[in-house]
Subunit: 154 residues, 2 copies
């Protein structure tokens, strides 16, 4: 299936950074404010969780489309090129971002969060509480370049 | 922002279950097959990772829209109602699903995975390698009902 689908963002990131930066997101605080079509009560019980997963449209990133299949992580000359779907760079096909952040507090129609790497006015496609049982199962393995690009991210 | 946005799925789940089931996803195997518009090479280097995060459109789930703000997890009468955005039920506003799964092998235009809780022909909006450093930071806390609904999920 490659027909376009239509999605209505259910919230917006408000506050935090107004320009992107590659690093040091851990202390950035922002609000996730619900869109009008989301019913009151949708956040009831969310305060019992410590962390959220947030799926956003990275609307100010660049979608490379067909034009770029591989790229050196962060453009670092010493690293081998890696496929665009084998890394997490924001300039990606479809421009969907996914992050975990800390939940600070919950209001009836907004959530305060810390460490969400999405800038002010970013559309939020979905948010889900983090379930420990839904983390990766079994031993985790990743290539060495990941520690280079994530070193100062949070 | 609540204008609809258009997204083109970049892959499709092929195989695995053809009907939904709430539990025992751990051993389900399926392929994630790239859409034609994704360039060759997009998966280069992915085989160095043990786990993927997969964002899907749950196209056979029911979007409750405005009609339901809270719901008892899995309909269990003993549990208190919880907001639709404070749980991970598939019948959710926007119908976006998010899972971690094990990566079995990578072919030029497809990935074999184990434990992906999405049925055959589910559109894939994005996939990202799991970075250990991007997991939840700090102590994780979740309410007791989560262990009830996740007990046999994987």
């Amino acid at each position: 299936m490659s027909l376009p689908i239509e999605l209505v963002p259910l919230a917006t990131v408000v506050g935090g950074r107004v320009e992107n930066g590659d690093d040091r997101w851990a202390e950035v605080e922002a609000e996730i404010v619900l869109a009008d079509h989301v019913p009151d009560g949708a956040l009831v019980g969310l305060e019992a969780f410590s962390h959220l997963e947030v799926i956003v449209l990275l609307d100010r990133a660049v979608d490379p489309g067909h034009s770029e299949a591989e790229r050196r992580p962060r453009g670092i000359a010493e690293l081998d090129p890696v496929g665009v779907l084998a890394q997490r760079h924001k300039d990606r096909i479809g421009r969907i971002g996914l992050s975990r952040c800390e939940l600070i507090s919950v209001a009836p129609r907004s959530v305060s969060v810390r460490g969400l790497d999405a800038i002010d006015q970013t559309p939020v496609l979905d948010m889900k509480p983090w379930f420990a049982a839904f983390g990766p199962r079994g031993d985790v393995r990743e290539p060495a370049w990941v520690s280079v690009v994530t070193r100062d991210y949070f």
